[in-house]
């Protein structure tokens, strides 16, 4: 994952494994620290859902590229569709991971984990959009 923050004193892999275990063990999450104000938990949940929608939009975009651009070069079309689908999958996994890390940080009273993911995703979407603009311009011009 691209999330920067991790528990000090543990390896990166060990911390990822611990996070993944938490996904399936609600009682372990509840055992950490104290239950925060429910409003914070609900805000964290809505952020998670917003990321999930972003992920679904990427997946839907992947389907749309494959279905609505039949005249495009097959390699280009497949590459674009698979990139978007993979982006959607990464976004969903990261949403889950980030949600659980925020939830745990709130229970422990720690700072929320910092993450580079939004910047990376934003840059990637920006670059893809610019490439699309260039492609459309070349088509119109040529």
């Amino acid at each position: 994952m691209i999330d920067t923050d991790r528990t000090p004193g543990r390896g990166r892999l060990a911390s990822v494994v611990a996070d993944v275990r938490l996904w399936f063990a609600p009682e372990r999450l509840r055992a950490e620290g104290e239950t925060p104000d429910y409003r914070f938990s609900l805000a964290n949940e809505r952020t998670f859902l917003a990321w999930l929608r972003t992920s679904m939009a990427l997946v839907g975009g992947g389907f749309a590229i494959d279905q609505f651009l039949p005249d495009t070069d097959r390699t280009l079309r497949l590459a674009a569709a698979l990139t978007l689908l993979a982006g959607g999958a990464v976004c969903a996994i990261r949403a889950l991971n980030h949600w659980i890390r925020c939830e745990r940080a709130m229970r422990r009273g720690e700072d929320l984990p910092a993450s580079r993911f939004p910047v990376v995703l934003g840059l990637a979407v920006g670059v893809i959009a610019l490439v699309m603009v260039a492609l459309v311009a070349v088509r119109w011009g040529g």
Partner: protein, 108 residues
């Protein structure tokens, strides 16, 4: 749609439970859009047994999401709702992952 629980419930200045319920509904809707595109993708290969099975699988992923959302919407309709369980979160993210995997398998 569940309204305010009871007149005795404490006032929540941020309407947090309602916003959370609406977020689940929006996300279910987004999931429906992605599922429709997935079904359309599958049906491009014709209407044989395999495409129809693919449509059924996509519908199942959406129904799974709908189930998680419905349970959660009910759970947050109380004055002090409990936090989302990691299992429900994993199931919701899993439905999205299933659609993505489905898409990767169906691109041509």
């Amino acid at each position: 749609m569940p309204g305010p629980s009871s007149p005795a419930a404490p006032r929540d200045p941020g309407l947090q439970p309602e916003r959370t319920r609406l977020a689940w509904r929006r996300t279910t809707l987004a999931c429906a859009v992605a599922t429709s595109l997935a079904a359309r993708q599958a049906l491009r290969a014709g209407t044989g047994p395999v495409p129809l099975l693919c449509v059924a699988l996509a519908a199942l992923a959406w129904l799974c999401f709908l189930g998680v959302a419905a349970r959660r919407i009910r759970a947050v309709s109380v004055p002090r709702p409990p936090a989302l369980s990691p299992r429900a979160a994993a199931a919701a993210a899993g439905c999205t992952l299933a659609l993505a995997a489905f898409g990767a398998a169906l691109t041509r």
